[in-house]
């Protein structure tokens, strides 16, 4: 879709200022500008199965609901079934015609991801999309059952293992990695994906794992393209979710009046799953537009580092 030059310029200014672009202000301005990519058709996902991880809170709930509104059969993938059940009932109350299913999966545990993928794959012959939305910001350094640093496990290893295991079902479908604008502040740390060196900081660990998603995306997209799968990473902007309230209370107290609501944060994920034709693969998105993976040159990864990170991921996710 082509957008007029002044629109692109304004959009870029919003994006680089972060505060304007990532808040509700940025989204509202962009939606009002000419060239805003059209909404998916109202029944774009009718009869299609879509998985949303971390669907028991914040953006996950809004993503599930947005996809259900497009007619999808939405599979809520949660780690806490009781909480997930309450969320499912809530969505069903608001959207009585929504087709919803609840599944349990701990995305941070490779064994549990494989178990889950086996079960869901046995039941669904075709999956239109997975939105890898589950997210954590561990307050202390923590490790998954397989010994990976926990944010890396939940944001990178788990999603890759799940997608790999469901490649046959996903043929011709789409994969969305929910990343974060926080990754703009971190370079790829191929030398220390486990965060063993230096003092642990929750925001740094989180942002490094989101950077890893974005750096590995093009390689994953090439791999998955062989089955006609389109892969995207996106960042939601800043939305007022339970996750933000818990992990970034100070940030929230300052920015709250302009934070996005959950549906605004989920907008690009829903659009990426529903829009036709499928968006180009391997790209990073925000507010329905492709964005750069770097805004400061110092975070650019060299090819040696990228190769090293890829070797780590192949090992961690068991990519043969």
């Amino acid at each position: 879709m082509s957008r007029p030059l002044p629109v692109r310029a304004l959009d870029t200014v919003l994006d680089r200022s972060l505060v304007l672009g990532y808040t509700t202000i940025g989204l509202r301005v962009r939606q009002a500008l000419p060239g805003w990519p059209a909404d998916p058709a109202p029944d774009a996902l009718a009869g299609r199965d879509v998985l949303v991880t971390g669907a028991s809170s914040g953006l996950g709930i809004a993503t599930a609901e947005g996809l259900a509104a497009l007619g999808a059969r939405v599979h809520l993938v949660v780690r806490d079934e009781a909480k997930g059940g309450r969320v499912l009932d809530e969505i069903a109350r608001r959207r009585p015609d929504a087709e919803l299913r609840l599944w349990r999966c701990d995305v941070g545990d490779v064994d549990d991801v494989r178990r889950f993928a086996g079960e869901v794959g046995a039941e669904l012959p075709a999956i239109h999309a997975i939105v890898h939305n589950a997210g954590v910001m561990p307050p202390e350094r923590a490790e998954s059952a397989q010994g990976h640093e926990l944010s890396m496990a939940v944001h990178v290893v788990g999603p890759v293992v799940m997608t790999e295991a469901l490649r046959p079902q996903l043929e011709g479908g789409r994969v969305v990695l929910v990343s974060s604008g926080g990754m703009y502040g971190q370079a790829l740390r191929a030398d220390d994906p486990a965060y063993r060196r230096g003092t642990y900081s929750p925001t740094t660990a989180y942002a490094r794992s989101k950077r890893m998603q974005v750096e590995m995306l093009p390689l994953l997209a090439d791999r998955w393209s062989l089955g006609g799968i389109t892969a995207a990473a996106m960042h939601p902007g800043w939305a007022d979710t339970p996750g933000v309230k818990e992990s970034l209370p100070r940030f929230r107290s300052i920015t709250r009046p302009v934070l996005r609501d959950d549906a605004q944060g989920a907008d690009t994920s829903v659009w990426l799953v529903g829009t036709e034709p499928p968006p180009a693969t391997g790209r990073f998105w925000h507010d329905r537009v492709r964005r750069l993976a770097h805004i400061v040159p110092t975070t650019r990864a060299g090819e040696a580092d990228r190769a090293r990170a890829w070797a780590w991921l192949e090992e961690a996710a068991g990519l043969g």
């Binding site: 200022s17 972060l18 090439d222 791999r223 393209s225 062989l226 040159p297 090819e303 190769a307």
Partner: protein, 167 residues
């Protein structure tokens, strides 16, 4: 002196500023071809074909290896009127999506990376070349970087023509 890099710093030729060289001159181009990924991969993974598709390469022969990881090539190329010999080694070879070679001699270290993905009935290919120079040659980096866009265009035109010929 270190130049502060704020969010607003324009993407100018920052790598020419001494002391601020976080990244090496790099050029990345993405193009489509009618050849399917396997054909693209098989052609490009044999780096001796650089004789055909790389306008700068005068000769390129396999010195050792079976074409997989660890294969070594001797590449003689000319660049801005100078002839140099570079030893290339295959460091990643994942059929049909990823090829990575490193090139090295006394003055130069480089990476050539090809990402290949399925695109309709053909492929989309991303070619990345990263350069770094050692010793006195490092003063050539800005010249090389300035010349890169032109070099990239010529290379991609040749590359695409040869790949389309495979389809």
């Amino acid at each position: 002196m270190r130049r502060p890099y704020g969010v607003w710093a324009p993407p100018v030729a920052w790598w020419t500023t001494p002391g601020v060289m976080p990244v090496k001159p790099t050029v990345t181009r993405t193009f489509t071809t009618t050849a399917p990924p396997e054909a693209v991969y098989d052609y490009l993974c044999d780096f001796s074909h650089a004789e055909e598709w790389d306008p700068g390469t005068l000769s390129c022969e396999r010195v050792s290896g079976d074409g997989g990881v660890g294969t070594v090539y001797r590449n003689v190329s000319s660049f801005l009127g100078r002839t140099s010999e570079i030893t290339y080694t295959t460091v990643e070879a994942e059929r049909p999506t990823r090829i990575h070679l490193t090139g090295t001699n006394e003055q130069f270290d480089g990476h050539d990376v090809l990402g290949i993905r399925s695109h309709g009935t053909g492929s989309e290919v991303t070619y990345t070349a990263e350069f770094s120079f050692k010793g006195a040659a490092r003063f050539a980096a800005p010249v090389v970087a300035a010349y890169l866009p032109l070099l990239a265009r010529r290379t991609i035109d040749e590359l695409r023509a040869h790949l389309d010929g495979l389809a």
